[in-house]
């Protein structure tokens, strides 16, 4: 659907994006995971044609680069900042952005109704945006991105600062769009979001893609071993034969095959009162790749 080839962008001495290459397939939900300042928004702006790369190029299916208006017509974006007009109503915002894409009047009306329904704002369509909660404004921001029915959606941290209810709704809507065949690029610094929503994830830090693969593959390759923690009813007299290390009455096992360890422990006579498996996740992957936490 869209392909980035050795994209590079510098701002003075800072290289915000450094020879980044990837391809997003049609119908795929592609995640960009990285901390703030990693280069996610800069990359998305180059993909959208707003920012001219210093090197490299972006190719959209069917030819052309996104600096051309005809190509941008196929894209929809929800920027990280709330790109909506507070003094207009939700409906007026959607009508305005829809008109920019030259939708015929009747089609525009249908799409506006659909978009408001899609993000659960039909009941507040006539209210000015400044009266909306933060979560509702985020949802409207998403609605403005989809009102013209784009093929490719670029969602730049669409859940920043929203309440859990709106966040959950946004997740559902992105999953719905994905199921309907839309191609989605989703940037976030929340690993749970990437893990839940994305088919493939690119882990980016300091302008460089460190790893790119399906979530399970990333974890398998870079996540390291899982940890199994068992609380025993009594401390065994001899601990040498145990599969892990004892500390007090807690047995900790680091393994690449946690299922087998759990099976073995549960059939033993160790008197297990509690069992917990800490599987490697994308946070662990990022930590292993960079030596830093995603929230650093």
């Amino acid at each position: 659907m869209i392909k980035a080839e050795t994209l590079t962008k510098r701002f003075g001495d800072l290289t915000a994006v450094d020879t980044v290459s990837f391809e997003i397939h049609r119908g795929e939900t592609f995640g960009f995971l990285g901390p703030n300042g990693a280069g996610k928004s800069t990359t998305i702006n180059m993909l959208a044609g707003v920012l001219q790369p210093d090197a490299g190029r972006v190719i959209v299916d069917g030819g052309g680069d996104p600096s051309q208006p005809a190509v941008r017509r196929r894209l929809g974006i929800a920027p990280q900042a709330l790109a909506i007009y507070e003094e207009l109503t939700g409906e007026e915002n959607l009508i305005f952005f829809g008109r920019l894409y030259s939708l015929p009047r009747r089609r525009l009306r249908e799409r506006v109704d659909w978009a408001l329904e899609f993000v659960g704002l039909s009941g507040r369509r006539k209210d000015r945006v400044r009266t909306y909660s933060g979560g509702m404004q985020r949802r409207l921001n998403l609605a403005c991105a989809v009102v013209h029915d784009p093929e490719l959606l670029l969602l730049d941290e669409p859940t920043v600062g929203v309440d859990p209810q709106s966040r959950h709704l946004i997740f559902e809507k992105i999953e719905q769009l994905s199921a309907e065949g839309h191609t989605v690029l989703y940037t976030t610094h929340y690993m749970e979001e990437a893990q839940r929503l994305c088919d493939r994830v690119a882990i980016i830090d300091r302008g460089v893609i460190l790893a790119l693969d399906a979530v399970d593959n990333l974890i398998a390759e870079h996540g390291g071993e899982s940890t199994v923690r068992a609380t025993l009813s009594k401390t065994p007299a001899v601990s040498d034969e145990l599969p892990g290390q004892m500390k007090g009455n807690i047995l900790t096992v680091r393994t690449s095959d946690p299922l087998s360890v759990v099976a073995r422990l549960t059939t033993s006579d160790l008197g297990i009162t509690d069992l917990r498996v800490d599987r490697a996740d994308l946070e662990t992957v990022f930590l292993n790749l960079t030596g830093r936490s995603l929230r650093d």
Partner: protein, 428 residues
């Protein structure tokens, strides 16, 4: 074009909903016009003496008496001049009217022969209907004063009646019955003047005696005035108000461009299938449309409520359009002066205020000291006010209007181009 209209209508709607912004764009200029207009027109209810030019072609004792009587009136200021100068003064609006005292004025023949020849000729602009009637009244009053002096003062009237009787008796061309009637009439008057108490006559001279005589024959000539002075202070303050409105529009829309940038909506606009030129053109179109609308509203208010008279409506439309173009350009330039609303708002208002102060937005151009008038050449506000005044009361020709219109348009184009170039540089 549909997209451009969508962009412009969105901006107009946003400004319309910004009540505080609207105050600076619409209400504040109107208040300025009302405030300064009221100050400059202070005491306008008390009528000033009407300046007239007297042309004494009779050069007689009667004409001198008549003109002296006019001059003694508090309602008139009388200056003397030759006929050509008098016409020029009236045409230029430097005098309200001229009064020609024709040859033979005050002679007995003219008064009593029934001649159709006018004794007084008044030259006045046809639009000055009230002044025409008022002046005719004053002339008639002075004429009666002359009649009274000549005929109801026995010491001066008797010799004149003797002369008149001799003249009528010797006039062989006159029909006999008319000659006899006039001779009897003048004889009766001599008898009357010989028997009457002069003191009582003087007392009654303002009453019945006057009504017994005929009035002067006054011919009114139309002299179209070249309007080179405002009819009222409102014709000075409303062009200033329009400039303040344009300043407000330019500042408001310049800040709105920065707001689009800081709020992120500019990013979404740039992601839409639009050229950057279209986005800025939409902003310019909205600014232009709002500027022209506000100007039209203020002008209409001035015309309907304060009798602002527009000398040339076509030139006024051109002036408003040129002013709009100029301030759209300035709006674009101001919008790139800073990166935040505060920076652009502060810098924009500072620049526009200096332009207004030096350009006649506060002190009218016509009363500016010479040095400030020289400084004002660099201010677009000066050229805007000049263009508006040129169309309203300065009576500019198309040729005279070309300079301010050209300068305004040029400033607008240059400022817009520079603004767009900086915008493009800043935003890739």
């Amino acid at each position: 074009m549909r997209t451009l209209l969508a962009l412009a209508s969105k901006d107009l709607l946003l400004l319309w909903r910004d009540r505080f912004g609207l105050f600076w764009v619409l209400a504040f200029p109107l208040l300025m016009a009302l405030f300064f207009g009221a100050i400059f027109s202070g005491g306008s209810d008390s009528r000033a003496a009407m300046k007239i030019v007297a042309v004494d072609q009779a050069q007689s004792e009667a004409s001198r008496h008549f003109l002296a009587r006019l001059d003694s009136s508090d309602a008139l200021t009388v200056v003397s001049a030759e006929i050509d100068s008098a016409r020029t003064l009236v045409r230029q609006g430097k005098a309200v009217a001229y009064v020609i005292v024709a040859e033979g004025f005050g002679s007995l023949e003219q008064m009593f022969s029934g001649s159709e020849q006018s004794s007084l000729i008044v030259g006045i602009d046809p639009s000055r209907k009230a002044e025409t009637g008022y002046l005719q009244g004053l002339l008639t009053e002075a004429w009666f004063s002359l009649v009274q002096a000549q005929f109801f003062n026995p010491s001066t009237a008797r010799p004149r009646l003797d002369t008149l009787i001799a003249s009528v008796t010797g006039d062989t061309a006159m029909q006999a019955d008319q000659r006899n009637a006039l001779t009897d009439f003048f004889g009766s008057m001599q008898t009357f003047l010989a028997e009457v108490d002069t003191g009582a006559l003087a007392d009654s001279s303002t009453g019945g005696a006057r009504s017994a005589t005929m009035g002067p024959r006054i011919k009114v000539e139309e002299v179209t005035r070249q309007t080179i002075h405002p009819h009222s202070s409102w014709e000075i303050t409303f062009p200033q108000a329009l400039m303040w409105a344009l300043v407000g529009c330019a500042a408001a829309f310049a800040i709105s461009i920065v707001t689009e940038r800081t709020r992120g909506t500019l990013l979404r606009l740039r992601l839409a299938p639009l050229g950057r030129g279209q986005i800025l053109a939409g902003k310019g179109l909205a600014c232009f449309a709002f500027s022209v609308t506000v100007c039209a509203a203020l002008l209409l208010f001035g015309i309907l409520v304060f009798d602002v008279r527009v000398a040339d409506p076509t030139l006024l439309v051109l002036a408003v359009v040129a002013c709009g173009v100029c301030f759209v350009g300035l709006m674009m330039l101001i919008s790139v002066l800073g990166k935040t609303e505060q920076a652009v708002g502060g810098a924009g208002w500072a620049i526009l205020l200096v332009m207004s102060m030096t350009g006649g937005g506060m002190v009218p151009l016509m009363v500016m000291p010479k040095w400030l008038l020289t400084v004002s050449h660099i201010s677009p506000v000066k050229w805007g006010i000049l263009a508006l005044e040129g169309a309203i009361w300065r009576g500019f020709s198309y040729g005279e209007m070309a300079l301010p219109l050209g300068i305004l348009t040029a400033i607008g184009i240059v400022a817009f181009t520079v603004g767009v170039m900086v915008f493009r540089k800043v935003h890739g």
